[in-house]
């Protein structure tokens, strides 16, 4: 079912091997030699395919599974049709993840610097890099080893990119220092001028934006997301951060390690997120806000005050999520009464 046009299938694997890869137990050990050629979704999987079943809400549908084999947990195993070979995992979602990696690896072309790329003579390119057609690498820019720069990317003067990074097609980078193992998606804009100006006699005069964007290791920045550079202070994104598509991270923001920022979030300038903060889709955060470690902000919320460590909030202005739900319920009851 996975499209060979895009992905290379390393299978087939027999079920004994799959049990090993998935840290799972084959219920009927006589079936260890049966081969499975592909992974598929629970209801689409058929002959020779394996699927996963770990969502309790789907238990009614589990009897419709037509896959050769299914990885599930002890609690859900009985819901699976008797003709399906069952493997039991303590964490089927993690097993799914591991089997995916075993079956498929992303297509990776041999490292090659296109002769249609424009690489400034002063740029430093690490070993084993791939640079696509019409990519532009500016003066004094630096790439570590094993980087993949996709076509039509623009990397401006002086940018530093660590090893094992991937820069998606048509992205544009400037004024930034990026760590190792980062993936900047297609169309992301890193290092544009922050939105800062002084209004003097009706004219909005730009404040020089002299800061940089500093990105740690193992960071992903989603498609068409923008990370502006700071006015004087840097914009900093910690290690292991994941930013989804179309988000806005403004000048001087500091995003702590492990934060998750979902699509279309906007964080205004000079705000700070602690570690492992989760920010739901379309949330807005005002400027100069502090959100402490492990806080969770529900989608579409508007954050106008600091948020404490571990808090779970929702709404504009944001309140504890239970209060938000009670507000909604109160409002709906009030109009029914009146």
């Amino acid at each position: 079912m996975v499209d060979k046009r895009f992905f290379i299938n390393n299978g087939p694997f027999n079920l004994a091997k799959i049990a090993e890869i998935c840290d799972a137990k084959l219920m009927d050990e006589t079936k260890g030699n049966i081969e499975v050629s592909d992974i598929n979704t629970m209801l689409a999987a058929g002959n020779g395919e394996i699927c996963f079943f770990y969502d309790k809400k789907s238990k009614e549908k589990a009897k419709e599974i037509k896959a050769a084999a299914c990885i599930t947990n002890q609690e859900l195993a009985d819901f699976v049709d008797k003709d399906v070979i069952v493997l039991i995992s303590e964490n089927p979602k993690l097993s799914f993840f591991k089997l995916n990696y075993a079956f498929y690896e992303e297509y990776k072309a041999e490292a090659k610097v296109s002769d249609k790329a424009s690489i400034h003579k002063t740029a430093k390119i690490g070993n084993n890099c791939t640079i696509g057609d019409y990519a532009v690498i500016g003066e004094n820019a630096e790439l570590g080893d094993n980087c993949v720069i996709e076509p039509n990317v623009t990397i401006a003067k002086g940018c530093v990119i660590g090893s094992n990074c991937r820069i998606g097609a048509n992205a544009a980078l400037s004024y930034c220092i990026i760590g190792n193992g980062c993936y900047i998606y297609t169309g992301a804009r890193i290092g544009a001028d922050g939105f800062g100006f002084n209004t003097i006699q009706g004219q909005h005069k730009r404040i020089p934006q002299l800061g940089r964007v500093i990105i740690g290791n193992d960071v992903e920045i989603g498609a068409n997301t923008c990370v502006d550079r700071g006015a004087l202070d840097d914009t900093v994104i910690g290690n292991g951060v994941r930013v989804d598509n179309l988000a806005q991270i403004a000048h001087g923001d500091k995003i702590g390690d492990g934060c998750i920022i979902v699509a279309q979030v906007g964080i205004a300038g000079s705000s700070t997120l602690g570690k492992y903060v989760v920010v739901g889709g379309q949330v807005g955060v005002a400027d100069h806000i502090h959100i402490e470690d492990f806080a969770q902000i529900a989608a579409q919320s508007g954050i106008m005050r600091n948020v404490e460590s571990g808090a779970v909030v929702m709404g504009t202005p944001a309140v504890p999520i239970k209060d938000f739900m009670r507000q909604a319920s109160f409002l709906q009851k009030s109009i029914k009464k009146s």
Copy 2:
């Protein structure tokens, strides 16, 4: 008034011909030979130009019309100044649409594959295609006939694009299969990795995204909009769908035929829209939501539960639109009282 720099004017047409094109009736048939050279807006139209008047709210302004001729309906005709030649149409908006097409066609250069494009030797290019400068067409990619690929587009390995498609400048496509007659706007990102990962001991490990983006026929995807590919299941966009700019369609979403998705909408992963659903600007839809056929979601709403067929909802969490308006009114009254 339409700028000849950008559009080719096929006029002039005389009013008899215009009546025919517009399915309209010329009130004074002696005027059939009068020529009109251009279309313009109601109040900007002048000598030799024709305008349209179909918005009742503008009736006070209709006497200010200075156009040579005006297409309106029976009900509004009396508001037009007596010096203006009137044509009556049952559907003046549709007439406007038809006359626009008659007067103007978009400038279309002769089909030509730029020698500054990079086309992989294994790519298949249909007949009569235009491929712009610095466009990149990857290994085994396929284009149908009559496609226009604008400059600086990146089409990655294996993508399949049907006939009569247009891919706007600087767009990037990967892992996708696109039908016929589609228009992917400038800067759109199709097929980027879905935002999915497992967090293992504090590290967000990417789940391989093995699905594709499947787009039907006659679909438009707006400027800088992102459509991510699925984790295992495909992301599917049905026939005739219109997506505006800066929207986010996540991994595994299924968008039914004829849906309209306005700018800056975000739909989280694995959600389903039925047919002809209308989603207003900046709406957020949570993951695993089902929105049934013909439902309408007002702008900025947050959809956290399934929406029934034909429902019209608003707010976060969304309620029937009348309830939303009553909630707003209740709130405003409550603070005036207190």
Copy 3:
């Protein structure tokens, strides 16, 4: 502290010169010969650096300043540590702005048209322009003097760009007329088709979009922002307007002089903003709305009705900002009571 990799430092300057640049008064005039080599933030500034202190909220931290010199105002001067040389300015923020400009100018390469750009033979290029690699300038397009077109930009047929403009990397322009001194950021999309169609028997038929985008002088359009062209009427952006990243300005909008539009705002078609309107982040404005001069719309608001001159509103639907805050407080009290 400012990274020499990206910016050229014009210093050092002695304090007498700095006082002159900043329109400030050196408290101890014997210190006029002391040299300062760089600007830094209040708490990061150290030996040989100057900082600014103008935020009353930071007064507790002012005694931690380790900079050689600090520019502040009369009221705050006493909070600064006695070892720091103090300069007094009536407007320290403006002084900061002026000193930034004196110390740093953006790196500007010598004007050069890349031989890897594709410039149509009919295009007119002004004097002293820089055109980056793989930029595409279409048929009959025109650039004024001193323009900088960054790499991978696409400027379509017939576009007119004034003097002293900068078009950021990977931006795409079509159907537009742009004034002098404008800065279109990386990835911005100017002139795409407005989102307009007629639905005829279940098919969404595109209405020809025959208008243009007209942009005044001294305008900035943020990264990945989209400005669509109009259906017949033009989309018009006045002089001195600032638009942040990822905003959507739809077909036929008229944005008055000096407006400020923050990130991720969406303005639907045919709406009008007067002069100096401020629109906060993630605001949505419905179609055909009029927002009058000097109105201010708080972040995330939804504007469904016209807004009067000078009004300050918030919420969806928007109400005066004080009412919005009282609504929020009323709701929170109501659930505590119940």
